[in-house]
Point group: D2
Chain length 334, copies 4
């Protein structure tokens, strides 16, 4: 039984606590912490756990084998570095940290520790559809991938959602999952801005088309459209030398009514990727016990940050921007 401490008891924190308590095999939540006492207590009540108000104390509690971090992004780096110091496996919700520099500090700390400890919460890698596509690509049957056509469409966003958030909060998922899917790294980024939908506001250019080129020359286009109104619609088509592989939409009944044949499109990302979250955490629990990381690593978190920075710059300049890490990918992460 893996004893898990959860840092950050907001919505996502409570979600993971419920998941670990009700659905996941081989784990139990033994401690929670939050700077807000009320939140921490409410979360602790779900799982009968100890309550901390200081994340460091939670990390050092001997009744905590491994740590889940669901605090606000700016607080991630400190907790993760503590956990590495304590030699405890740590699952950090995305982002790994809010700056590429902080991500790099985490990478270096993990490298120095010599132990595989950090996993980032890019749950799409556990989605059945992406895995079916990956399996097809890895089979070699379709030859080398050449292009990816993707969409990340969201029903609507609030007025606090601004242009750069289309990268940091939305495309960030594609940034991680796509390079994993095709086993490649990014080289450059460009962003194209079509005319704006009437449903957006002055601080948000919506939609956007983000273009990424990988080191092998694969060209990716991601339509990011966060006020598309009709649903949460994630698509991914991989054009290969010997065929095209498209991720399926989730299966829903086929309805005949009102002169139309129709199926449901999801409207909520937590519904769309519900199973992915469960699989992700179950997988992390099993790996934490073995001391391995098979999900997105600290390096992947760093790559995502560097790529996001280039995309945000490309949003501003309209140019093709290079994507460059400050160090080569270490052997440790191969």
């Amino acid at each position: 039984m893996l004893k898990v401490g959860v840092i950050g008891c907001g919505g996502m924190g409570k979600d993971h606590i419920k998941r670990l308590t009700d659905k996941i095999q081989g784990a139990e939540v033994t401690a929670v912490s939050d700077v807000f006492e009320e939140g921490a207590k409410a979360a602790a009540a779900i799982c009968q756990a100890k309550v901390y108000h200081n994340s460091q104390e939670l990390i050092l509690d001997p009744e905590v084998d491994a740590v889940v971090i669901t605090s606000p992004g700016f607080a991630h780096a400190e907790s993760i570095l503590e956990a590495i110091k304590a030699g405890k496996p740590v699952f950090s919700e995305k982002p790994l940290a809010t700056t590429a520099d902080d991500c790099l500090r985490i990478v270096k700390a993990e490298l120095e520790s010599g132990k595989h400890l950090v996993q980032v919460g890019f749950m799409r890698r556990y989605d059945k559809g992406y895995n079916q596509v990956k399996e097809a690509l890895d089979s070699g049957e379709y030859g080398a991938p050449l292009m990816l056509h993707c969409t990340h469409r969201n029903r609507e966003v609030g007025t606090n959602y601004t242009t750069p958030m289309a990268v940091h909060d939305t495309a960030i998922h594609e940034i991680d999952v796509l390079h994993w899917l095709i086993d490649d790294e990014y080289e450059s980024a460009q962003v194209i801005m079509p005319g704006c939908t009437k449903y957006s506001h002055s601080k948000l250019k919506d939609p956007q088309i983000m273009l990424l080129r990988t080191k092998k020359g694969i060209c990716i286009d991601v339509e990011v459209f966060v006020n598309c109104k009709f649903g949460y619609d994630i698509n991914c088509e991989v054009v290969c030398e010997d065929g095209v592989v498209k991720m399926p939409a989730p299966a829903y009944p086929v309805i005949r009514r009102n002169a139309a044949l129709s199926t449901t499109i999801d409207t909520d990302c937590f519904v769309r990727f519900r199973d992915s979250y469960d699989t992700e955490i179950q997988n992390w629990v099993e790996n934490a016990k073995k001391g391995v990381v098979t999900g997105p690593t600290a390096w992947d978190g760093y790559l995502a940050a560097v790529t996001a920075d280039a995309l945000v710059k490309a949003q501003e300049t309209g140019n093709v921007e290079l994507i460059k890490t400050d160090m080569e990918k270490p052997e440790f992460y191969q």
Copy 2:
């Protein structure tokens, strides 16, 4: 240029007159007839044709090479027999005649004439979808057909539509097209009556499931549901020894809206089979010039009548009813 005389100037008559005038190559309408003077005149105005009030006179007019019959069903037999006597090609809208006996008289008259003159207006044989399925079956790639699952769904019918009309006006299309599709003849019929939809009335059992067995042992089920509300929905799936072939629905754009992915289902049989009517008549015109019939023959019209009679009997008895013709299929119609 085939000079065509059209007998019967109601809706269907005018439709065919417009078709022959505007769309069909190699034909012109030179004469029309109707017992109602007004109707005949209105129809004649479309195509600058001579007006008759007597179908026999029209048939004998030397400026009429071939005849299209769109008069009410009870009047078909007489006109067709006249046309055969005159040795002129004749296209009769369905039904060939209102009784199996009258159909048989027509068959015998055509046989005696020794010329292939009569075609019945079962337009589905010219539908692209059915032809694609037939091509697949005829390719031999899928082995022998074993079962057909079909639906004939219609939005709604009036209160004058009664239980036997589900056979005579609706399933009659499947009766003709299905035995052509699988190149087989019917042996027996059964009708199953599910509970009635709330949208029907006391004179109409709706829906019905009609079961046909062919001489080769192929089993066909046709769901006939004429108040299905949602559209005009024709399906045909052929289960073979080496695979299943399903007729495609007509192609319409795929729409994402309101949390649904949808395509249009037709609501009108004349839209669904519009192209079939054009192809049917173009084909008949070309064949009439050559003196051949490649579409549904008088024999097919007779078969349809015999099969329909068995189905209506099966509606009443609930039993399996044999489908028997009064003569073997003559060599002439092979």
Copy 3:
């Protein structure tokens, strides 16, 4: 933690032992039994459980809270009756028992015990697709169901598979899941025998079309085709007064290759319903702790046996056979 004893250590038994050990939360296998010592030992090794050679002893072991029965069908009744006597929850793989009479004895024993103890392993009730359809039907949006069109297609069967097995081993799944889906009971059965596929043998009529009518007048057709060659293909379309609801096929990538657009059809029922087995057992474990049964009951097992008997009779007679239980559905099972 529910302590589970597993009776019968063949393939299905080992499957459930692995499931309970690796995937299910809140349960552990504490004892196994099999008449074959080797099998029992091998199974026990998976889960570090006690080994019995006598199912009664296992049932009475105080370290066994609940029992899973995966022994051959003929041995089910005895074990289930023992479990009822011991007041322990029991999950029996299908069939509940091999005769309707034995099923009825179990029903009566459970009734007398006054406790809800028995669940039958009809796992399709836990399939996502069927549940999506049920949710749609239960929403009332589509009005009353009138007809169900279903297929149960299987790649191929061995020469030991005979005509009645198309009911007992194959259609049995539809028998249970369909009446649950539409919340109705069966009234009569008929079986239609199309010409046989070349891939069958003299003891097996394949395919068959099984027709069931419910007390509310809903008409069901199930195509059972166990040598269809192309895959394991389960379909279920419900035609309602206000629309048609069709169960989706499992989602697989959409491939463009070789002049075709294609998706995978499953070939193995354990792949098709893998998630259903997991959900079924997880659900049973949780209910066993609470002392309730929300899955298929002993009554459902009895109904399935009575319905199967009528279908086998109908296979032989070609007639419509009544489906009659020896008692009314007791209040206890409502």
Copy 4:
């Protein structure tokens, strides 16, 4: 009966001659011309037409009411200018002329003539799918278009097909049809070059992604992949403010076989757009009689040339290139 003269008796010329003779209503081919005597004679034999070896003489023949030009591209301008001079309607296969300058000369000549005489053979405007999408867009139900995602995939090309031909011979169809579809004009072009497929050769970068921006700010991406191997695959998805509209693929039977559900993808552009060619010519014939042009005009031909030039430049520079015409769109072409 429109008397048509056909200039150029190669494959496309013979195709149109057969079409005009066998399928089109209200036209007949009265004269053909080709610099190769053999070709002209063979073509004339199809339709019993007069033979010319000089296109000017054909145009001036009083037995020629209208002209179809299917000669090599470089010869178009001269014939079209002759036809304009003679005041005869002229249908020119694409391209209108091989340079933007020549196209502009034709535009100016037509303007001076004051008569609508020239139509260019962009047949996709007559495709049912594109028209269904246009109808949806024009209905206003989906709000303003924001982005178009398109593919133009072709099985394979010969070694004589070079990088610029991806524009001139392939994307040229999208260039015309897309601005018509969204009723807008192009502003700039960019071309992205992914890594090359192993099936290409040194003179051809394949695939390419062509990006077009319109004056209203609509962003278009067209994947041009001419050695995709699997088929001729034309896709067009229009993302609007209130929904997404995707052109349907042509309807083919749905097949279950070999553990897959599949439908055919076309492999030949003449099969994919067969009906479009027929509709295009029928429509042109009817318009020629009335003295109007409702299809692609000389101005559209000029726009296509200017856009193609910008795309070819963008292929070379890798930059965003402006698309500028030498004159404003004249009132005459509104």
